[in-house]
Symmetry: C2
């Protein structure tokens, strides 16, 4: 049985990990004629993000910019310290596409469903204020790239 | 001035280069619950594909499968010999996302427009029968990944 909870399997996001987000963002902006987006900084510690790296609390930090390229969110991410999948990727591969992301509801249930294929969660964290969460899966050996589950919480009415 | 001819900059394709297309395709199929697609083989030589690698004729061959993940074509490509960007990527990075592709009209004009940013064509070829063409650009140092221009020729009426 395939993984449950991936819905229509529409690709939601592609992320390039870089070592200098301003430099790369400027080039994308110039070449594609896109407005330079506002940076989003993950600066909060584990007490706020509840981020884990291989199950252990992490202070992983990052700078991010993104654009919409059609229906796909295209993200550039620069790791800024703290143990993270982002830094691991940069150390192992250099700058390049790190993950493809899918929107889900019930991240932990979807991650558990990936578990039946031997896939584990490598990093997980919450957006602050808690508007959503991300989950990275160690799909690289099976699928050739990391899969991210992205969940945006619905606002309480 | 930004590159001319990229239209709405909608992301059309993401490609993972692999070393065993059947193995990876099977896993994508199982995990995402997707039908196993028919393989597309680039087996023709330069006399048919007119393929070039850094300006020199090449007999580059490959096996390809692809699915639609929402609006995005998601491709797995295994190089099968002949000098190619595909094999270079595999040798340098290992299995991973090789390129993001955009649909264009007038590939050579769009590639020339990239040239104003110092970007060169690395590999180019025609689909057989000549229904379209692909052009890889050496955007990796500037953008962190390879950009491909994909053109599908309109049928003559």
């Amino acid at each position: 049985m395939s993984v449950q909870g991936l819905g229509d399997t529409a690709l939601f996001q592609v992320c390039v990990i870089v070592d200098d987000v301003e430099k790369y963002a400027k080039k994308y902006s110039e070449i594609f004629g896109l407005e330079l987006p506002k940076e989003y900084h993950i600066t909060a510690g584990h007490d706020v993000t509840n981020a884990t790296y291989h199950g252990t609390p992490t202070e992983a930090k990052a700078k991010i910019v993104s654009w919409w390229l059609g229906q796909v969110q295209f993200e550039l991410l620069q790791p800024l310290g703290g143990p993270s999948e982002w830094q691991d990727f940069l150390d192992k591969h250099g700058v390049g596409v790190h993950h493809i992301a899918f929107r889900v509801k019930g991240s932990d249930e979807v991650a558990a469903s990936f578990g039946s294929f031997g896939v584990k969660v490598t990093q997980q964290g919450f957006f602050t204020p808690p508007t959503g969460m991300y989950t990275y899966l160690d799909t690289e050996p099976l699928l050739g790239t990391t899969v991210e589950l992205l969940e945006f919480f619905e606002k309480e009415k």
